[in-house]
Amino acid sequence: MTEPGLVVDGLTVEIPTSRGVVRAVRGVTLSVAPGEAMALVGESGSGKSMTCRAIVGLLHPPARITAGAVRFQGRDLAGLSEPEFERIRGTGIAMVFQDPMSALNPVLTIERQVAEALPAASSPPRERRRQVVALLRQVGIADAERRLRAYPHQLSGGQRQRVMLAIVLARRPAVLLADEPTTALDVTIQAQILKELRRLQAQLAMSLVLVTHDLGVVRQTVQRVAVMYAGQVVELAPTAALFARPRHPYTAGLINSVPSVDRRAALAPIPGTPPDPVGLGDGCAFAPRCPIASAECLRGEIPLRAVADGHWSRCLKAHVVGGARVAGTAAQGS
């Protein structure tokens, strides 16, 4: 019985640069079951986008996978040739990107671009048009027939993102990787798109990996969360558990950095800046900024350990990390 879903096992992506080797992704392990929605959360430089690109084989050279494996429905994707990969992309694993304007071809009509994505089975043009209209309606584009002949620049950001979704869904992928799909959109449009995503996911029993930096989006949209920092997964947990009791100081720090509309409590920003990705060594990459770090945190390879049911943390002191939404430092007695 092949293992279903998507499994990433110890993935490492390195990029040689003039200043040294950048280890953008360092031993990332996670899995997404069929029909599950998961978020990859992190800030710039955390490696979340690189991980997704590595999964679908879209890394820009000279970035390359130097260790680990990606298995989709039991098949190892690492050794695949480009033609084989092309067959997996789209129907197996699909990806949507942040900026829909640059993802759509500006000189082709919407109908043409969505129709291109339909499975290659030859059907009469009328049938294909009907399918395109159905897809556009499915992603919530009002007046789908009138939009067929429109070009991307004539649509708004939200509509373009919906068209991207339609193109991607035309192949009914088993897994959808969405890299910051709503970051560039207004908040009311973002709410609509996220709602569509959830609905489509449920309807098509599709797995969703949502890459985002917005913890609020995470809270509202997914069942499981992987928090990334400096190329590693530092915490992995079900959503409710993560927010109720984060077990890594970075996660706690992030949660305390997000202002809320309903609370006027002081923020507790994480001091300092993310580390230089060149020359990341052993020890915890977050230690320089961590309020509870000590000497042992700087040495050796720190593994991801289970701290509760389905809840993993890469912190040696996971048991002392504080409770929900504290205004102040992340540390608290357990």
Binding site: G45, P274, P277
Partner: protein, 283 residues
């Protein structure tokens, strides 16, 4: 937003290394200038002295580059000619560069009728091929070094204007320009002290190629009898006079030709190196 450059923490300040191309080109130029300045030391011949007993002698220990059809030592004439050609080349580009850059920057920033006026002038000058226009102006003014400078000055500025205008058109929408306007900086200050320096790198790189173009133009004018007058040892003139003797004395025309090539390569190396050098720490 999330480019790798943005993800990296600030790099430590690196020492500005002089790029190898720039060093090589500069060395070549300095060698040429040095040789030219030291000409009286390096060679005892007089560049103008004719010796009809020694016409078209091939290169030898006595005459490193041979002699031309008047018996003059070619090596000596190439060295003395370097001074002429380099002087004209460098002087000729100063005005186009300065005037063109400023005109382009002002036109790009102000837009409107100023931009239209400058661009129409550029269009008019572009309509006529470069060489043709230069030749026409020199023919009108008469031959001589100064007139070459004037002719090139009138025609050559347009490339710099276009290059700089393009950069300024793009950069004027950057937020720092808005911020400086809000700080009450005058338009002159914003254009000349901020936008123009940022717009210069492509123009500076082109400057080097432009010098090569001017050398060739000067040589062409000399060749046509419109530039520097004989018996001056200007390289173009030498090529022109030596052309008739290509089969019997190829060195008379080829040596000055090699000299043009040498200078051209040197300037291009300098130009490319300048582009690297002009990049400021962190860019």
């Amino acid at each position: 937003m999330t480019t790798l450059a943005g993800e990296l923490a600030p790099p430590r300040a690196a020492r500005t290394r002089v790029p190898t191309g720039l060093a090589a080109g500069a060395t070549m130029l300095l060698a040429l200038l040095g040789a030219s300045a030291l000409a009286p030391v390096l060679t005892s011949y007089d560049p103008y002295a004719q010796n009809l007993n020694a016409m078209l002698l091939p290169p030898s220990a006595a005459h490193w580059f041979g002699t031309d059809n008047y018996g003059r030592d070619v090596f000596t004439r190439v060295l003395y000619g370097a001074a002429i050609d380099l002087r004209i080349a460098v002087l000729a580009v100063v005005f186009p560069f300065v005037f063109g850059a400023v005109a382009g920057a002002v036109a790009g920033y102000l837009g409107g009728w100023v931009d239209a006026a400058v661009m129409r002038a550029v269009d008019v000058i572009t309509a006529v091929p470069f060489m043709v226009l230069v030749i026409a102006i020199v023919a009108f003014l008469g031959p001589g070094e100064l007139n070459i400078l004037v002719a090139i000055g009138v025609v050559d500025w347009i490339v710099f204007a276009r290059l700089v205008r393009g950069e300024v058109l793009r950069d004027k929408h950057l937020e720092y320009v808005t911020a400086l306007r809000a700080l009450g900086f005058s338009r002159a200050r914003i254009v000349l002290r901020h936008l123009l320096p940022n717009a210069l790198p492509p123009a500076a790189v082109f400057l080097a190629s432009d010098i090569v173009l001017v050398i060739l133009t000067t040589s062409a004018l000399g060749f046509l009898g419109l530039g520097v007058r004989p018996p001056a040892p200007e390289w173009g003139l030498m090529i022109s006079e030596g052309r008739a003797f290509i089969y019997t004395g190829w060195w008379a025309a080829a040596m000055p030709g090699f000299a043009c090539m040498y200078a051209g390569i040197a300037f291009i190396l300098v130009g490319d190196g300048l582009a690297d050098l002009l990049r400021v720490r962190g860019q």
